[in-house]
Each structure stands twice: as C-alpha cells, then as structure tokens.
C-alpha cells in the first residue's frame, strides 16, 4: 500500500507582487520537454505536437497550451498541458529515425506570469535587455538574467510575459519581483 503523494510547487506560499499596474503569479504545472537536434526535427514535431519548433533565433510558436520556444540552433523547449499523456512516446514515434534528444524536464523549472501595463518596467528592475515592444516584440523568447538568476523570458502579449526559471532559483526570482514592485510603488 503506498501513501498518496501530492505535487508541491516551490512557489507555494511565496509572495508575488500585485499592484495596480502589474501582477505576477505562478503558472499551472505543465509538461516540459527539452528537444535537441537538427532542423530536421521541425516537420515531424509540427505534425505530432501541433506546433512547429521555430528556427528563427529567439522565436516562439504556440497554439493553445502548447508552445515551442527557441533556445539555441539545436535546442527547443516544448511546453504542453500538465496531463499530456505519453507525449514523449508520441513524439519519439513521430521522429522515427530523425536524430534527436528528447528529455522530460517538467519538474526542472517553473513558470511565472508577469501581467499588466507595468510588466516590462517591473522586469527592467533586474533584466538588462531592452523590453520595449519594438525591441522585444510579442512572441520573442530568450534566456537572460534577472539580477543574479538566469531566466527564460517569453513575451506572450504586449503586457504579458512568461518567466521560466529553474525550480531552486524560483524563490529568489519571486523575491526580486516582489522587491521591485515595492520599489516602483
């Protein structure tokens, strides 16, 4: 007989900012797969996953809860709903003989939403990139820094960013966001 095991988010009980201009909140659990390989993987993945891994640097593609974020010339982050069934198996079959590496990293990192007209300013407290919508348009996704933590940053809408951060850095990132919101009033 095995006891019931519950999944615990590292962000449980961690304050995140909510002001009149911006709020941050943990995103739901998700399936995350790290995909590496040549651009030959794009077409098979598009068919099986529903989203084609982008070949444009810092690009992203999404449909519903599924998304593919460019991480490098041979690397993508695939995001899907938490209960995606045997997505690994489906994709491995679809890829057949195409060389690739597919690794489940669903628990490795967490997603944090930054939403509101003050979103870019909040991030600018710790991120040195130009987050103006002309320089960092909707759909852009990149790895960058938030003060001392490495994060993935994906602009989903003009005023909506998704942070992907390693689990153990998530409390630090939450605290930085909270402090920044306080500083910005």
């Amino acid at each position: 007989m095995t006891p019931e095991v519950v999944r615990r988010s590292v962000l449980d009980g961690r304050p995140l900012p909510a002001t009149g201009r911006v709020k941050a909140y943990p995103l739901p659990f998700a399936t995350r797969l790290n995909l590496r390989g040549s651009p030959d993987v794009v077409e098979p993945v598009r068919k099986a996953f529903g989203v084609a891994p982008p070949t444009q640097p810092m690009g992203s593609a999404s449909a519903g809860e599924r998304a593919a974020l460019w991480l490098g010339p041979d690397e993508w982050l695939l995001l899907a709903e938490e209960n995606a069934g045997d997505l690994m198996g489906t994709l491995t079959s679809a890829l057949g003989g195409v060389f690739h590496s597919l690794v489940d990293i669903s628990h490795r990192q967490v997603g944090i939403a930054i939403e509101g007209p003050g979103a870019a300013r909040l991030l600018a407290a710790g991120c040195p990139l130009d987050l103006d919508a002309r320089a960092f348009p909707v759909g852009m996704s990149t790895r960058t820094l938030l003060v001392k933590a490495e994060i993935g940053l994906w602009r989903r809408e003009e005023n909506f960013f998704r942070i992907e951060v390693l689990r153990s850095f998530a409390p630090y990132v939450a605290r930085i966001l909270d402090l920044a919101a306080r500083d910005q009033g």
Binding site: M1, T2, P3, E4, V5, V6, R7, R8, S9, V10, F29, N34, R36, G37, D74, E75, F99, H100, S101, L102, V103, D104, I105, S106, H107, R108, Q109, A124, A125, G126, C127, P128, L129, D130, D132, A135, V147, K148, A149, L166, R167, S168, F169, P171, Y172, R175, I176, L179, A180, R182, D183, Q184, G185
Partner: protein, 991 residues
C-alpha cells in the same frame, strides 16, 4: 524668519512654506526651494566646514555639484548618517539635521587649526619625506594620526536600513544636463518620436535658466521657456525625465550609470520608496550638455568664508532670493563679473568695487554697470584678503605699466565674488574615452573626436554663445529641426588662468588652487622644482585634483601654474584622466536588492523543509544549501556524527542527495560521446547497469567524477559533483560544439528534474520495498550498480542501486515536486526500523572508511587516475578520450609521484589535521621536502580510532612503512596502509 539676508521677493522659492532645520545643533528656518547652503547664507552663515589638511575655516565656493568646501554630514536617524554631502546640493526639509565635518571641538574653535600655523612645515610631499622610520611606524602611528587629523566625514557604523532599486533602461537618445541646451536637444529628439531620457543633477530642470535674469528664448523669459519645454516633455510618452539624477559614469557602448536621489529630500518618506535608484541606461546616442564650471581666482587667502564664485553669488540672489553679502567686492577678468555685480546690485547688495584685471571696460555690461553707478576699477587685481571666520577686507591693487601690482588698498567688505572664467565640463566626454584637445584661443580643453556615438553641445563643448548652443543642440537632437531663438544672452571672454599676480615671498601665505585637498599654488611650484614635469606626477605628489570633486574648479588653474613654472605650454603639460564617479555615489545603489539574505540566490532542494523541521545544521556547496548533520537535542557535533555513522552502518540512514549534478545524454552515439569524455568505456555497459566514471581535463588530471547509468541503448543518466555540475555541463557543450559537432548525441541538465534520496544500510531494501512498484528488489534481480525504472509511492522513479557509504545503497530519484512527499513516505518506513537521517559530515566519514575519493579533497588538479589507484579503470584501448594524450607524458608516469594511501596514526586517538605534511623521519632539518600530505582525516566510530587518507610519494611502495605527519605540536608516527578500512571484500555492498 527665513533669514536676515533674504531678499523681499523673487527667487524660485515658495515663500509661504517655512522649513525648520538645524546645523551643528543650532536651529534655523529656511524656505521651500532652499538648499542647506542657501538657507544658511540667508542667515548670514557662510562658515560651513574646515579644510581637509590645514583646518582652515571654509564656506561655500560654489552653488553646485562642483562644491569643494561646504561638505556636511546629514544625520537622518539610526543607520542613516551620510557624510561628505555638498551643502549646495542638500535640499532642506522639515527636521533636517546637518553638521559640519573635520572640526573639533567646534567649527568656530577647531583645535586642529594649528595645522595652519605650522603649515610652513606641511608642504606637498611632506608625508613622503618626513614619516619614514622606524619600521612599522607609518602603518601604526603616523598614518592613523594623520588620517584622524585630515580627512572628510566619518563613515556610518550602523547597518543601512534603506533599500535601493535598480532600473535598466534603453533609449535612442540620452541627454545629460537639462539646461537650455540640453532641453533643446531633448525636445527635438522627443518631437522626432525617439525614446528620450533627460537627466539632471539638480532638483529642478533648468540649469542656468533657473538663475537667469535677462535672457529670452523663443520670446519668453528663460525660466518661463524652461517650464514650457519641461511641460511638453512631461506629457510625451516617449520621454523619461530624471531630475535629482547624477550621471556619474560613462562606459563603453553608450552605457550610462546614474544615481537618482529619491527620498533624501523628504522629511517622512514612504518606507516603500527606495532611497535611491541606480539607473543603468544604454543609449543609441548620447548628448552631453553638462555646462561649465566657473574657475576661482588664485590669490593669497582666497579661501575665507565669504569668498565665492561670482556666478554662484549671483545665483544666490536670483534663484534663492538671498543676498550673499551686504558689501561686495567683485573680482573678475571677464564680462561675467559685471553680470554678477548687476544682479547682486538689483538684489539690494552694495557693490564696493568691480575689480577688473583688464585695462578696459567699455562694452555692454560694463556700460550698464557704469550707468548703474557701480564703481569699476580696471587694470586692478586682488592680492589677498583679511578676516577670520568671514572675510572682512579685499586687498586690491592697481597694476603698474609693467603689469606688476602696486601697494594694495584694503577694501572693507563681507563678500568677495570672484571669477576667472569658465571651464567646460569635459568629465563625461573624457570618461567616454574621447580625446580632449587644447584650444589655445580660449585656453580650454575641448572635446575632440568622440570615441562613441555621442556629441557634446553648449558650454561643455566650449560654445558659450547661447544661440549657437541651442542650434547645435537642436541639430544633435534631430537633424533639420527648428532651433529656438535666444535674445539678450551674455557673451563672456575667456578670463584668466593661474595666479592673478606673482606670489609674495612670505611663506605662510596660501593661494589655494585645489580647495578640497588644500593644495596651494606654492605646492605646485614646489613639485615642479623637485623634478615633477608631467601633470600626472604633479597630481600624485601634491594630490591636486584628487579629491572627491575631481578638481572641477581647480584643474585648469593647477595646470596653468605648473606650465608657467615649467616654462611650457599647457598642452605640453597635459591633462589627467577624468575618473568616475563624477560626484560621490551612495554605495547602496550598487548592491541594489543584493544584500543580506538576497546577496546571492540560495538554492534549496525540495526536501530542504524536512531537514529544517529537524534542526539540521547547514553548509554551502556553490549556491546550494546542504545539511551537514541533523543533531538530536543535547548532542555535540561529534556525538551527532558518531550516531549517524553507527546507525547507518548498523541499520540504515537516509540523505538528501538532490544537489548532485545530473545530466541526461541521449542519441545513437551517446555511448560514444561518453567514451570520449570519461576514461572508462561505456560501449559494453548494459542497459540498467551503472558505472563509476572519472573525467579528466586535457592535461590528464582528474576534474570530476560520478556515476553513469544506462537507461536505454541511447539514453544515459549521469551524475556529477554538486559544485562541478555547471562546469561539467559547459565542458560537454564546448566539446560537442567545437570538436564533435556531427556526433549524434545531445544532453540536457536534469539536476532539478529529479529529487534524489539516498537510502543506505543493511535495512535499505526493507525500507524501500514496501513503497516500490514494478521493480524486483531482490539482490539477484537488482544487483549493486544497477538502475531500474518503476514507481515509488505511485510516482515515477529512477531507482539506482549505488552506494557511497559502503553499505547496501539505493538512490531514489523522483520528479522534484514529489521529493518532499516521497521523503515523508520513506521516513515513515525508516523511522520505525531505527534508521536515521544523516548529513554530509557522516557521508564524508563513511566513504573515507571505504577509501572512496572526493574530487577536491584527495585530488587537487594535479592528480591522475593512476595516482589515486584507478589506473585500471582507464580504457586505453579506446582510440581517444579527453586527457588520454597527456597521460602518456613522462612526468605523469615518473616514479615518485604522490599516490593515494591510508594512514593509521600510531596513537589511535591522535587525529592529524587535513593538510598536514608528511615526512620520512621524526626529526627533519628545515627545508626538507615533504613526501606528501593528509587529504582527509576523521575519527571513525566504526573503527574506534582515527584514520587518514593521504597523497604520498611512491605511496603504494611504502605500504607497511612508518611516516610522520607534521602538525603544529610536532611530528606523529603513522603507518602507511591500503586506503580501505572497512569491508574490504565489499560484501555489504552486494548484500
């Protein structure tokens, strides 16, 4: 109320808002809009500080950020003591408490002022020459004494309770300085739709316009035009206005660093607000409109309170509604002195004389001054002053036809307003790496070719004609934009540099050049006589220009005096580099949020809370927190570790191993990839099997180790050391990209995908078996060094049978978010069986008993596999692997290399310290080369005695011999043994 010297009207003040503050404990009242300096001068107080070296009484020289004299400490409560603030920039607020510095027992009676009397003995370079012996005296006696006597304010001792914010920002155009020129540039750029950031160090945007009495721009008075432009810019969404913000650093790629003062001027700030913001701005173009600094005249006793720069005196009257003095002597060498005299006369001050060193005064402003009935002395110079805590007389002489002055008259006055001309503020241009060029016509250094995409406009580029400056600035802001027209602006000549007249013979007279560092004209001449020919040497010898004001008011005078003494042109003497910060910056902004518990990210495993609840003692491994030991109530550290060791060996122990680095390598050639990285061979490692692997660097030395687990033909799960994880990953990526780009293998960090719980001990299987599904836990089906996939507590697991303790061991890997729940479940099985949780200290002892190395303890970057007895692991049949070629070097195979051994001290209770040297005899002469060193040393509860691991020259040939470990209390004999103290047959691992 707000001061007897306050004018009846005018100024940029709110005369309805009276503000109470104190200076040196005495209460004063000022008006909203005042600085500390203007509010005190309104009460007739000029004395605000004592000088750095001679403790001479000083008052404000200027009204800006270039102020060298009036440095004060503001005490805003516990932990909020800020020294060395310029009184000319400190805004007063209700309850402000400020005090003077460098004076004891009081500003008016300073004991150290004797330094002034003895100052004939304190010339430049004095410290270098005098305080030489005896040895150590400089460090322990002279320097502390001198530092007490000299110096500025005192650093605060309490922790800073305030917080500081970072702001990163990008823009197309950054404009530094919001005077008329900067505003014209910003407006043009803003109208062109570009993102504009406009910085100004002052409270209010306006620059020179804030004290302008007569100019019109676009048909409006300068102050009114300033307000209109600021209103337009404030309304523009593409413009960020940053008053109270000092751009203090200009770095490569148009990166500007600026400090915005947020709460220092507020009596009761909202505690949520940061005290200051650190703006880090990256601009496509930078427009510097930093203006110019007025130069003092260099004459004996030019530093008394009541002697100030003419334009600053004028600014007091026009901007702050304060009469700087009742009876004023204006000393000038250009037209600016006349403008000051006219504005001061308008404010109700008596102008005793305008002393002009030039022969003629027959143009616009002079005519206006004469028409006002102001007495003008042309062809005259100021030769000195009289007074104590305030100037009382100006010593003024007519010049003879040979240019030398005659006997001076003493003109009674309470203020001398002096001006030697204007020095363009080229600091930021110089910081941007642009080269300065000397302009002989105006005797100024001007910006030459810029090194970045930037331009200097207005006075900082030597353009003192307002119309021209506005045209340049508008063009810099946006090509083709319409420039505003200016009317009525003054145009001044170049003025003078250096001494106004030769110094008298008398040695005690001091004509100050650098007010903040107390450097006199005589000091600079002395430096040249003692052989300093370059300004770089003169600067270091005299300290001129090295104070916190960076020589803003003094550099050009110092250069001119040095050039004159050396008989050279100024351009040949050179100019020193302008360093950042432009003005002193509060330390707090650099740290921003990175302080105390936020100094660095703290990485905690998902199981961390379980150990916190049990009172674990922690240590750091990289950014990770790891449990050192888990003490029960009343235990000493040694008792805890002893209990954890014995319990684990007798029953079982569990440990959080989640911090271990984990990497998943996938692909048809994954095994080949690992073959090339590790010394081992992985080609024949079966699916479900594990292998201990060693990784070398290219020089053949061990740099990481771990267990490689084959999950499938084309999938490996490997572990690295905790602190080596990131580096190993980077090295793998490096090789993949640069050496083997076509290899069909890729890898992914999975350190945080899996929480890892190590369960070790004879009862390990009993503890886990009830929780595991789908895995045959029997020894026959699941042998040591195997890995299985299945479920534990209903969640997926990669369950490895590996051991670092020498006991039967399992590592339970579960997806991280389940880690804590699985830990709880395992503990519910473990606790009733008498098991314990153990920490790193216990792990280190248990593994040492088995002779397992730790990379970084037994190895030090110079150790080969053979050195640690693992030569047999090397698969030399492999065509290549990282480090293989180096292993063939003669030096890595020579006899006499240190080898891994065990040591047992003859006295079983003596535990040598780690790092102790090993020698061959009890007594060795000094200089004897050590044979090796102790790498690990513990008391073993299992063995009931001490034991060591060591690296020993030819160690394996010395088994059975006696060597000596050398500690602080002498040499101790120890027997060399095999590095394996427990279960040599490995029966327990395979139980």
């Amino acid at each position: 109320m707000a001061g007897a010297m306050r004018t009846g009207s005018g100024g940029r003040l709110d005369r309805t808002r009276v503000i109470n503050f104190s200076f040196d404990g005495k209460r004063f009242q000022g008006l909203a809009g005042d600085t500390l300096a203007s509010a005190l001068i309104a009460h007739g107080v000029h004395l605000m500080g004592r000088s750095f070296k001679y403790h001479r009484p000083r008052g404000p020289l200027s009204m800006g950020s270039d102020e060298p004299n009036a440095l004060v400490t503001v005490d805003a409560g516990k932990g909020r003591l800020t020294p060395n603030l310029r009184a000319t920039q400190v805004e007063i607020y209700e309850g402000l408490r400020a005090r003077s510095q460098n004076a004891w027992p009081s500003l008016k009676h300073d004991a150290m002022a004797l330094n002034g009397v003895f100052s004939a003995f304190l010339p430049a370079g004095f410290y270098y020459k005098t305080f030489i012996g005896p040895k150590g005296a400089w460090e322990h006696i002279y320097e502390p004494a001198i530092r007490r006597a000299a110096g500025l304010g005192v650093a605060p001792t309490e922790p800073d309770p305030d917080h500081y914010a970072y702001e990163h920002r990008h823009c197309e155009v950054a404009v530094v300085g919001a005077g008329p020129t900067g505003r014209a540039a910003a407006r043009a750029a803003a109208r062109a739709g570009e993102r504009v950031i406009l910085f100004d160090e002052q409270v209010e945007f306006g620059g020179s316009a804030l004290a302008d009495s007569h100019t019109t721009i676009e048909g409006k008075p300068a102050t009114e035009w300033a307000a209109l432009v600021v209103a337009e810019l404030s309304a523009a969404p593409n413009v960020t206005l940053l008053p109270r913000t000092q751009v203090f650093g200009y770095y490569a790629q148009n990166f500007l660093a600026a400090e915005q003062r947020v709460t220092d001027h507020i009596a009761y700030p909202d505690p949520k607000l940061p005290r200051a913001r650190f703006w880090q701005v990256r601009a496509k173009r930078v427009i510097v409109a930093a203006g110019a600094h007025e130069r003092p005249l260099v004459f004996p006793d030019n530093d008394r309170p009541g002697i100030m720069l003419a334009d600053s005196a004028r600014t007091l009257a026009v901007r702050y509604g304060v009469k700087p003095g009742s009876r004023i002597v204006v000393a000038t060498s250009h037209e600016g002195g006349y403008r000051a005299a006219l504005d001061l006369a308008d404010a109700g001050c008596e102008i005793v004389a305008i002393v002009d060193s030039r022969a003629e005064a027959s143009w616009g402003l002079a005519t206006a001054a004469r028409a006002r009935g102001l007495p003008i002395e042309t062809n005259a110079v100021i030769l000195g002053s009289r007074g104590g805590l305030r100037v009382t007389h100006a010593l003024v002489a007519r010049k003879w036809s040979d240019g030398n002055p005659g006997q001076p008259d003493a003109l009674p006055c309470d203020l001398i307003a002096m001006t030697g001309g204007w020095t363009p503020s080229v600091n930021l241009f110089s910081q941007s790496r642009g080269k300065l060029k000397f302009d002989p016509a105006t005797q100024t250094f001007l910006p030459g070719e810029p090194a970045q995409t930037m331009v200097c406009v207005g006075a900082c580029a030597g353009v003192f004609d307002l119309g021209q400056a506005l045209a340049d600035a508008t063009r810099a802001g946006a090509e083709g934009a319409q420039a505003p027209q200016a009317d009525g602006a003054d145009a001044f000549g170049p003025g003078t540099l250096g001494l106004v007249a030769p110094l008298p013979e008398e040695k005690l007279t001091k004509a100050f050049v650098d007010f903040q560092n107390d450097v006199t004209a005589r000091d600079i001449k002395l430096a040249t006589r003692e052989g300093m020919a370059s300004i770089e040497h003169i600067k270091r010898y005299t300290t001129t220009g090295m104070a916190t004001d960076q020589g803003k008011t003094s550099n050009m005078n110092a250069l001119a005096i040095a050039a004159d003494a050396l008989g050279r042109e100024i351009a040949q003497v050179g100019l020193t580099t302008f360093r950042l910060p432009y003005t002193p910056v509060t330390f707090g902004i650099f740290g921003g949020p990175s302080k105390r518990e936020m100094l660095d990210p703290v990485r905690e495993t998902p199981i961390h809370p379980w150990y916190v609840a049990r009172g674990a003692v922690w240590e750091e491994a990289g950014l990770w927190k790891r449990a050192t030991r888990i003490p029960l109530a009343g235990e000493t550290p040694e008792q805890t570790v002893t209990r954890e060791c014995l319990t684990t060996r007798a029953k079982a122990g569990i440990m959080d191993a989640s911090t271990l680095g984990k990497i998943e390598v996938v692909g048809a050639q994954a095994a080949e990839f690992l073959n090339r990285l590790y010394i081992n061979s992985f080609a024949k490692l079966g699916v479900g099997r594990c292998r201990y692997g060693l990784m070398l660097n290219e020089t053949g030395f061990i740099y990481d180790d771990g267990v490689v687990m084959r999950m499938a033909d084309d999938r490996f799960h490997l572990t690295t050391t905790t602190s080596g994880a990131a580096h190993v990953f980077a090295v793998m990526e490096d090789y993949l990209q640069t050496e083997w780009p076509n290899l069909k293998a890729r890898f992914t960090s999975i350190t945080e995908q899996w929480a890892t719980i190590a369960v070790n001990g004879p009862l390990a299987r009993d503890i886990l078996a009830p929780l595991v599904e789908g895995i045959d836990m029997s020894n026959a089906a699941f042998a040591h060094m195997s890995v299985r996939e299945g479920k534990i507590c209903g969640v997926p697991t990669r369950l490895a049978r590996v051991s670092f303790t020498g006991e039967m061991g399992f590592e339970v890997n579960v997806p991280t978010d389940y880690g804590l729940a699985v830990q709880d479940a395992i503990w519910r099985q473990a606790e009733p069986r008498g098991a314990c949780a153990y920490g790193l200290d216990t792990l280190l002892r248990l593994r040492a008993e088995k002779g397992f190395i730790v990379v970084g303890l037994e190895t030090d970057g110079t150790v080969t596999p053979d050195d640690v007895g693992m030569g047999k692991m090397i698969a030399m049949s492999k065509p290549d692997f990282v480090g293989k070629r180096s292993l063939a070097l003669a030096d890595l195979k020579r006899p006499g290399r240190k080898q891994f051994v065990g040591l047992l001290a003859e006295n079983a209770q003596h535990r040598p310290d780690e790092g102790e040297q090993i020698v061959g005899a009890e007594k060795t002469p000094p200089g004897t080369k050590a044979l090796g060193h102790v790498t690990s040393s513990y008391m073993s509860a299992t063995l009931g005695r001490s034991f060591c691991l060591a690296m020993l020259a030819d160690g394996r040939a010395r088994l059975g011999q006696t060597v000596y470990t050398v500690g602080l209390e002498g040499a101790h004999p120890a027997k060399v043994v095999e590095p394996m103290f427990y279960d040599k047959e490995g029966l327990r691992l395979d139980a």
